[in-house]
Symmetry: C2
Subunit: 218 residues, 2 copies
Amino acid sequence: MIEVKEEILADNNQVAAGVRERLGRQKTLLLNLMSSPGSGKTSLILKTAEALQGKVKLGVIEADIESRVDAEKVAACGIDAVQLRTGGFCHLDATMVTQGLEALPPKDFDLLIIENVGNLVCPAEFDTGAHKNAMILSVPEGDDKPLKYPLMFSICDVLVINKIDYLSLSDFDLAALRHRVLALNPQIRIMEVSCKTGAGLAEWTDWLAREVAQFVGS
Amino acid sequence: MIEVKEEILADNNQVAAGVRERLGRQKTLLLNLMSSPGSGKTSLILKTAEALQGKVKLGVIEADIESRVDAEKVAACGIDAVQLRTGGFCHLDATMVTQGLEALPPKDFDLLIIENVGNLVCPAEFDTGAHKNAMILSVPEGDDKPLKYPLMFSICDVLVINKIDYLSLSDFDLAALRHRVLALNPQIRIMEVSCKTGAGLAEWTDWLAREVAQFVGS
């Protein structure tokens, strides 16, 4: 069993490195967005598209086990999007991402966002080929999640804490959360947002715009 | 790949059937509780233990990828509990449950609750040997989850909708959720609760007490 897994991971790492290199040459930044189900991945993508409109050419690769509801939501806002149906698979691997890249219209994208399958476990183990990894933790999920899903917090460049409008109803301890996350990953950027009220979103979109500008200009 | 998966599933089904049969002879009802991270599995178990105290001999098998925080919380309330660390695995299988059963003190339990790994995808694919499967969906996760994680909703006997105290802050549509769930699984029981305020919990604990009484008396 373990050998099989190691082989799968080694093959995947090779495909992922190829994706990263190819998109790097094309000056397209690939961002992998992960979270539990319902933390707000699609909402954050829609808010990001709104803020970066006219500044960044954005495409989206949606992954879902069964439905196409997310791609439909995103496409309805005029964003180039493809839906990958994983057919029961609990994460995206780099081969699936390659299929998504081929299905997108042939445009000069500055930024492609992958919305991974809603899952705090498996997506953390598979390199998608992304240049940056970001995760969302929403306030109702609780501040103990870094203790329980440490790999996900360890591999991300950015943690977006979403639904801070729920803080008043919750015993979520932001200081404890920050402490737990930084113990796992001292380099991670932590941002507090509410996709519903718009609070804090400028920090996220400013960071992303800067990353894209650096990448495109590099 | 697919063959390997089928073999794993076939082996697991055999172990699961053995667990179910053995616990059936011992008149111990095994309940498998599943949800996304942070939906309230541990909170529901603590509330259940409180309500059934003195009536039902309860034990808990906690599963987590890394930490022991849940088992510590449960044991602190005087409940017999073991913690299974899956070491990266994204679900419990019947062999892991067997290890959990062996680690529990040798008592005449009426009810054993498995708290599965927080994940709406993989745990739905693996029979744990439980007699009943229950899931929690919490209001902040959104009413579209049956569209996106249909297998989980299809295999459960009970859906507990938790955190209904968040409904006032949310656009969660209870009628739409019920409609989507029942389209997948017409037999499922749906209960609305708040582990924080206690609302609706009696329906859950009454149902569970009845199921245990029937099982023990059968």
